[in-house]
């Protein structure tokens, strides 16, 4: 009797050319200049970074640019202990959600410059940029964030991001 077929493997591959839209283009051009520029919603006044051109809460275009500093706080984080294919940094290291001062949304980045077990919620951090000649149109211009040594932000100030 023939064995029943219970599974098939069908490898496939598609090629895509991702085109960056106007809003992302502007954000990335400014990253190349070492600037982080978000956008403010005209209705709820929230500042989004990276900007996507619209406020997800109100569904209206965000047109006002807001220059943001390259420092803020860790709202939440994860210590990466597991090695995986393509890993660029030796574990343990910390991936964190960072809330820039003046922004109303977090983004993920790397925390270095202190032992992984010292990273904590509310910790003040600042960007460590790569050398200027390596800057490109990417968030990777920021190599990582490191602790500033300032006092931690009180939990209430970022509670809604947790």
């Amino acid at each position: 009797m023939t064995e029943p077929v219970t599974m098939i493997t069908t490898p496939m591959e598609l090629t895509y050319q991702y085109t960056v839209g106007p809003v992302e283009t502007q954000f990335q051009r400014r990253l190349k200049e070492g600037r982080i520029v978000g956008q403010r919603c005209p209705v709820c006044q929230h500042v989004y970074v990276p900007p996507r051109g619209a406020c997800p809460a109100d569904g209206v275009p965000t047109e006002e640019d807001v220059e943001l500093p390259d420092r803020g706080i860790v709202t939440t984080f994860c210590v990466v202990n597991v090695p995986f294919l393509g890993q660029k940094i030796e574990p343990p290291y910390v991936a964190a959600h960072i809330l820039l001062d003046g922004a109303d949304i977090t983004f993920q980045h790397l925390i270095l410059g202190c032992p992984a077990d010292e990273v904590r919620m509310g910790m003040r951090v600042e960007a460590v940029w790569k050398p200027r000649e390596e800057w490109t149109f990417s968030m990777e211009n920021i190599d990582h964030f490191k602790p500033t040594g300032e006092p931690d932000a009180p939990f209430e100030s970022y509670r809604h991001f947790t």
């Binding site: 098939i8 598609l14 050319q17 085109t19 839209g21 106007p22 809003v23 619209a54 569904g59 275009p61």
Partner: protein, 200 residues
């Protein structure tokens, strides 16, 4: 059955390919605003939002989630997505209205097929079980379907050319269309086959 009418409509321009073209959200924000404002229904009072798009066209999983940014989803809205196009989304919205659960809906479809090779991308959608290409691509499959209709005496190549000529003539009047050249039925019937009986 409840009567359902389309009360407003908006369309982003269709483009063959364009460097620097907008992403899904950038296309949807002005388009949706135009359609919603023309309907006269306040945005927050729209009963149901339903989108149609394809993750294969976008080239990433759950790509449609980003599109919700263009709606304004707070306070929470009644929203759904179908993995196809706006026509399929329209059907879901129509059903929703028939159930009496909602009285209005905003339906939208979006995608940017120029990021990939459309014929290869579409082929992946043919089999929902194995999620693998079955062989023919979308154009060949449409040709098989057209051939079956001709063989069954349902229509002729000339009937098909009639439809194409009408569509091209509508496209010529629509500034958002990609194909804007009018052709007569006889001109169309003189063109080369792409996949018989479909012509270029």
């Amino acid at each position: 059955m409840r009567d359902v009418a389309v009360v407003s409509f908006a369309q982003w321009r269709n483009e063959r390919e364009h460097q620097g073209s907008p992403n899904g959200i950038e296309m949807l924000v002005p388009t949706m605003t135009e359609a919603v404002e023309a309907s006269g229904i306040p945005r927050k009072e729209i009963g149901f939002w339903c989108s149609g798009s394809s993750d294969y066209i976008a080239g990433r999983a759950f790509s449609f989630v980003m599109a919700v940014d263009a709606i304004g989803a707070w306070p929470p809205i009644n929203e759904s997505h179908v993995e196809m196009d706006a026509a399929w989304a329209l059907y879901e919205a129509w059903v929703k209205i028939q159930t009496g659960e909602v009285d209005s809906a905003c339906v939208y479809g979006f995608g940017k097929s120029s990021a990939g090779e459309l014929r290869r991308v579409m082929t992946l959608q043919l089999d929902p079980y194995y999620v693998a290409p079955l062989g023919p691509d979308s154009v060949s499959l449409a040709a098989l379907q057209a051939r079956a209709g001709i063989d069954a005496g349902k229509w002729s190549e000339r009937d098909m050319a009639d439809v194409a000529a009408r569509a091209l003539s509508a496209g010529a009047k629509n500034e958002n269309a990609v194909r804007r050249t009018e052709r007569t039925v006889d001109e169309l019937l003189g063109l080369d086959y792409v996949a018989s009986p479909l012509r270029k």
